[in-house]
Assembly symmetry: C2
């Protein structure tokens, strides 16, 4: 059926800045990071249900996570888990799904949604997505940009250009901007012309594969071949390994935007990319009046004159005394103590441990 | 045999400032606090061996610790563990042992040594103890005062008075001073006339019981009766409960010193009362060049840009990142994160937890 909507969920990234909560074997998207009882992946699938029942959801992930994805989303048809032979950055993940759909549903609309983002307000998200899908009928690709709440230098930005079709809800994309300096981020937010790039976009399958063909044939050509081989159940490892490892924004979205082929719909729906323990604490802060945010069983955590975040999954009593902006992550086999200010540096710890041969802890 | 030496080790105190390392069921003196492979109690017994073989050692402790004491010092005769029906402060513990010895070895010399102090230089200690025992032949009681290394307000002080018997190694005690202010502690140390009161003293059994009779008959009279009842295997709980709860220094040592009955031998033998995690770190600091002192398996601890102390007994990987003067105490069922500055306040945490009905964690 023409115009059917398919949701693609690229589920990569190890979340090393969330170690020891996230591990290579259990990355961020598989975790119940907010203590809701559901993983970020399952939350993402559920949020998309009004648009795409689970048989129209594709998850693109690594072989190591295939079984966990199937277990967490048991209704997901086996063929809807697209396994990447290795991690090849976002352009390959997006393109793989697009070229698979080109074979089976060439007239469909497709949307891409990260597996590990937090959306606090699902209904607001769904309303914005409906607007984006409507705009995608134009044949252009449509990204959803997040109205920034602070001058973050942790995200890329999308510059709005002129309104599209005389509606203030949809704009042409002026440009995609990589993660800026804090100074530039301040300028962007003050201008009111920039949105956070959350990596969410929709478009007809035809428009997406055409953008690969036009702007990134070094990906488009082999990915179309890979999709064909996969349909026959043939091995694609060698072709896959030869793919350039490049971000979708850089390889496709930026040149497509320059060519006037990208629209943007601004949205506000409590979006967060919980990339480290500081942002995890912020994401939780609204749900507590305490200076100490607890992820896990709060009855086990006893803070005194302290502030920060405690992530407890070991079942032990955790007592804090006179520590400010502390980060305590307590898992059955590893404990991390750091501060919010050092939340970004947790990634380096993981590098250190790798260098010390402690891979089994990572 | 006349003049035989008996060592008495009062083993009380719960060490709540060392929670969750020390617990009510496993207080400080039962712990291998310095990672030597031996508990502070066993270290104390061993240190006294050149003077008192284990059959001339008495341990005064609570009923809850009787079995642990027997297990840690298996050679200790059963009758040499004197069980206090309840904790009644140091005067009762010292007096109980003195009056028991009065019945069995009235001509003996007795010495009192806390079970939970650290002595880094055992030979230096033994040399000072020999001097003190020699001085005790005078019939006076002799305390060993620690030459202070810093103006601590955590200890009581002993003021030296005139030399005893023309030897500079032994002095009359001028007075026992309770824990001073930091300002007074600075004056004391600067004067060179004050020593730390480590609660170590020796004397003839006769001199000790006479001091109780003379200066604290409200303890001496019932304690002599308690010793007699215990010798017959009779119940002493009721008499014991009625004893005043008072420190030996206050009840006996201070008035005895005023009456000219106390001598003091200054000593330096790496003495420490490891009362909290800050002092535990200091006691360990000499054995490491790292900014992070580890008590336990150091191979499990990974510090980055951090300083402080990690006490690990859970077997888990412990990673620190960018935390200064941190205190991390990691036990199988409880975790404490605090700072060296708050080391003294750990006691309050224990009070809080008691109030919250968490006695089983204490």
């Amino acid at each position: 059926m023409s115009g059917e909507f398919f949701a693609v969920i690229p589920a990569g990234g190890s979340g090393t800045r969330l170690w020891p909560l996230s591990r290579s074997g259990e990355p961020k998207f598989l975790l119940d990071l907010l203590g809701t009882g559901r993983s970020l992946l399952v939350e993402t699938v559920d949020r998309l249900k009004p648009f795409a029942p689970v048989d129209r959801v594709f998850v693109v992930t690594g072989g190591a996570h295939h079984d966990a994805v199937r277990a967490q989303v048991p209704d997901l048809p086996a063929g809807n888990v697209l396994v990447e032979p290795s991690a090849k950055n976002s352009a390959a993940a997006v393109g793989l799904a697009a070229f698979v759909l080109e074979r089976t549903h060439p007239d469909a609309i497709v949307g891409f949604f990260a597996a590990d983002h937090v959306v606090a307000e699902a209904e607001a998200f769904q309303s914005v997505l409906a607007t984006a899908l409507d705009a995608a009928k134009s044949g252009l690709m449509v990204t959803i940009g997040i109205t920034p709440t602070e001058p973050s230098s942790a995200f890329g930005y999308i510059k709005k250009s002129k309104d599209f079709a005389d509606t203030e809800a949809v704009h042409h994309v002026g440009e995609f901007v990589e993660k800026p300096s804090f100074l530039d981020a301040q300028r962007f937010v003050k201008s009111g012309q920039y949105l956070w790039n959350a990596g969410i976009f929709v478009g007809s399958v035809a428009s997406v594969v055409k953008a690969f063909d036009d702007f990134s044939p070094e990906l488009g050509v082999p990915l179309r071949e890979i999709a064909a081989l996969m349909a026959e159940g043939l091995d694609v490892a060698q072709l896959w390994e030869a793919l350039p490892s490049i971000a979708f924004d850089y390889a496709v979205a930026e040149p497509a935007a320059k060519a006037g082929q990208f629209l943007v719909v601004p949205g506000s729906f409590g979006w967060r990319d919980v990339g480290d323990f500081d942002s995890l604490a912020q994401a939780q802060q609204s749900s507590t009046t305490s200076d100490v945010v607890v992820v896990g069983d709060a009855s086990k955590v006893h803070p005194h004159d302290s502030s920060g975040i405690v992530v407890g999954s070991s079942g032990r009593i955790i007592t804090l005394l006179g520590v400010e902006n502390i980060v305590v992550v307590d898992t059955p086999d590893a404990l991390l103590v750091t501060t919010k200010e050092h939340a970004q540096d947790v990634k380096q710890i993981v590098e250190h441990m790798k260098a010390q041969g402690l891979e089994d802890m990572l």
